[in-house]
Amino acid sequence: MASSSEIQTQDLLDAVTSGIQAGELTETPPAEVHELVGTIQALHVVLTPVEPRPEFVESLRTDIIQGRPGVIERAQQMPVRISVAAALALVAGCLLFFLRRLFDSDAPQAARRQREWLPRSLKISRALGNREWRFDKKEIQEEAVATPL
């Protein structure tokens, strides 16, 4: 709890600061705050507003205000019936994807095995004349058919 003299000093400091800021401090400051007046005046001189670059202000405004909204924001701005249709399409797509994985699970695995095997048998030969990389596709395909998975 501040004493009454402390509160009085704080009020005086406040008044002196306002006077300095307004350029209206003509009287000698009271003794209680006299030693702090120099500090207040120095702060008043040093702490002045700083302007941003106009280009910065304009480009930031453009970025924020005219920037493209994100997916969520755009979805929120859509009419209700379009939002519902989009949600239904998304659910149907997911359903199809999982059903396909469930009932046709063997096909992707066979394809993956073939993809993993193919690079091992790539034979890259460099033509002597034109310095081109050449893949012997026919040979790779024959080797793929001959080798059991």
């Binding site: 500090t39 207040i40 040093v46 702490l47 507003p49 941003p52 670059r53 910065f56 930031l60 205000i65």
Partner: protein, 204 residues
């Protein structure tokens, strides 16, 4: 449909509170708020960071964060700028924590900004004095720096500063008094000694 039939709003004539309510759905309303406060935010952040690059980065972050959270803004009677200052204060605090070499913040930008109109013969002397004072201000605890910037740069009243800092008007007056005493004591010490300790008593 609502955009076709809605009447044209003249944003500059509206008060902050009305603009905030509109800004939840209207980018132009937020644009008006931006125009009103971008210079204040930049100035505040510039004095807290000491360089143009970080001041611009953090000012951008303040408004991007404000724009993305304006939908959650609840008007509790405090001015809108208090909300912006709190965002700025938090971002600056995080920035200071991230600075590995906080003590070598360049003051060149500050001097270039603030001394453009000075007479040449006094320039060197003033630069030294101002550098010392700014260094002393930056050694203050964060809340005291914030108080000085809001009081001297923004020239806000104690009540307005209290709303921003979440304190009573009396607490702000008391903090201001203690801050001035600490600053005066620090300036009276030798510069070397002053740089060895923070004004809140913690060793650097």
């Amino acid at each position: 449909m609502k955009n076709i039939f809605s009447r044209r709003v003249n944003h500059p004539e509206l008060e902050d509170r009305e603009l905030v309510a509109l800004a939840k759905d209207d980018a132009e309303a937020f644009g008006e708020l931006y125009a009103r406060y971008v210079k204040k935010m930049y100035s505040y952040i510039f004095h807290r960071t000491g360089n143009t690059q970080d001041a611009e980065d953090l000012t951008a972050k303040v408004f991007i964060r404000a724009y993305s959270h304006i939908g959650n803004y609840v008007d509790r009677g405090a001015p809108f700028q208090a909300w912006l200052y709190r965002i700025a204060h938090n971002l600056v605090a995080n920035w200071h924590r991230d600075q590995a070499r906080r003590k070598i913040i360049a003051l060149d930008d500050y001097v270039a900004h603030s001394l453009q109109s000075e007479a040449p013969e006094r320039l060197a002397e003033d630069v030294e004095e101002r550098d010392q004072l700014m260094e002393a201000v930056r050694r203050l605890p964060e809340e005291r720096q914030q108080l000085l910037l809001l009081k001297f740069i923004e020239q806000l009243s104690n009540a307005e500063i209290g709303e921003i800092m979440g304190r009573t008007e009396g607490a702000i007056k008391s903090l201001y008094h203690r801050t001035l005493l600490a600053l005066r004591d620090d300036m009276q010490r030798t510069p070397e000694a002053g740089q060895q300790r923070r004004l809140d008593g913690t060793e650097v």
